[in-house]
């Protein structure tokens, strides 16, 4: 064999061995495990990242009261994390941010807009029948966990979760007339009149004070968008009965 042919063959062989070595060195061992790709990539992508959205069952473990209210209400199809954001490792890795601007949040779904299906409850923000002069937060009247006013649950005050040690209030038996009278009050003041989180706590207040306040709201002497509207149609008897009722409730 002539020397130049031998050298050519030697060169070829060297290249070939180098190529095989390089391929073997560079190629991931899991390549071709399942197909023409790196098998480990699938395992890595199945493992990471840890899920951020945990689902309502995760929330229910601690927030059972709210969860029960939510499953009974009109928002039952809207899971916790739609409004509250991803739970991640809450409560271990921090608190959940409370939706602050509910006008902005609620209208993301409920602002009347061409293209939204007719079945979707929608409002024209400027015309929404809310007694107000300027914009007020949706939460003022609607309980986000059961938003329908006068729905199957009736108007429900937002649950103020109380520690297990708190004194439970015995339910007060009310006449049908009183039930209908207090209906507009409970969303903010609570059925027990003790909801100070949203508004004034009424339970155990002075009867005369309650009468005077209600009269002033009715006449407009005291200005409050919601209170002016809900007291407008009250008679003197209604005011007296309401004051009597809330004054008789055990205070917080």
């Amino acid at each position: 064999m002539p020397a130049h042919i031998f050298r050519l063959l030697l060169l070829l062989a060297t290249f070939l061995i180098l190529a095989v070595l390089a391929r073997n060195y560079v190629l991931d061992p899991s390549y071709y495990q399942f197909g023409d790709y790196r098998g480990d990539a699938v395992v890595e992508m199945a493992a990471n990242p840890a899920p951020s959205f945990r689902g309502p069952d995760y929330c229910q473990a601690c927030h059972s009261q709210r969860h029960a209210q939510w499953t009974a209400g009109a928002h039952q199809g809207v899971k916790c994390e739609v409004c509250h954001g991803a739970a991640r490792e809450h409560p271990v890795d921090g608190t959940m941010p409370k939706p602050a601007d509910t006008i902005k949040l609620c209208t993301v779904c409920h602002e009347a807009m061409p293209g939204r299906p007719a079945a979707q409850p929608q409002i024209v923000i400027e015309e929404h029948p809310v007694p107000h002069d300027g914009p007020i937060q949706c939460l003022t009247c609607h309980n986000p966990h059961s938003p329908k006013l006068g729905g199957p649950e009736g108007p429900v005050a937002p649950v103020v979760e109380t520690p297990a040690t708190a004194v439970t209030v015995a339910p007060v038996l009310m006449s049908p007339r009183l039930v209908s009278l207090t209906t507009p009050c409970t969303p903010c003041h609570g059925a027990d009149g003790r909801n100070a989180a949203m508004s004034a706590a009424l339970a155990g207040s002075d009867r005369a004070l309650l009468v005077r306040k209600l009269q002033e709201y009715r006449s407009g002497a005291l200005e409050h968008a919601v209170m002016n509207a809900v007291t407008k149609s009250l008679s003197d008897d209604d005011i007296a009965d309401l004051a009597e009722h809330y004054a008789s409730l055990p205070g917080g």
Binding site: L21, Y37, F53, K79, A86, P114
Partner: protein, 282 residues
Amino acid sequence: MSVTQDSKKDKIGRRDFLRVSAKALAGAVGGGAVFAESVAQNEHTDGTKASTSFPTEDYDWTEHRWAYGIDATRCIGCLRCVEACKTENGVKKDAHHFRTWVERYVYVEGEERARVDSHHDPQNIAASGSEGEYRFDNRYKDEKVTKAFFVPKMCNQCQHPSCVQVCPVGATFRTEDGVVLIDKEYCIGCEYCVQACPYGARFFDEETRTSDKCTWCYHRITKGLLPACVEVCPVEARIFGDLNDPSSPVSKFIHENRVHVLKPETGNAPTCFYVGLDKEVS
């Protein structure tokens, strides 16, 4: 070339040369056989795909055939899906990088073609307040609208994906359970797949210098969870499940409705099935 021009005078002819070369090559391959062993084992000489079960204890990918349903007649355009996807998958929170999006089609009276916009339209960014929040503005409220609807979009996880076809490095592939994934370690960022996708479902992530797209939340579905967008959809416009299970939501969705896929003419055979598409949606 002396070999071809005058083979008789040469000490070695063309045939001999080829014969010797072939032997030398065979020898060289034999020498490298030890190193090439692992490769040879997995080479598919018979043309079939090697298919072993998924190597984790709790999940066997041969048992699942994931599919996605989108009911455009239910979508309210709230864009919670867009936001949830970004949170779940750590996608950049600006308006121009996204794995899923929602298109709004509006036919204004007197116009033949629909006006189309999505969350990254400047007016919509202005309405949402920032690029990290997503909402449609109400620009058509005073117009005479004859027809309007929303269409959620995302990667169609095609059965014959063009993106996989064009990838030069084997960085993108279709899994046994029907999801097209991107191996970020192998991706060289050539963006050929971004060009090849007929649905515009892929984008380029400048930070990692790799392509990116929807994975149907592969890290969730392999753990028995729903993709984040399906999890947060308040109106059940997004439906997900296993075609192997006839009682899964997506099987029912496909059986009970007349479903369409986007751009069937491409032959990509998507596994995202739509209800309520209109002539201009593609």
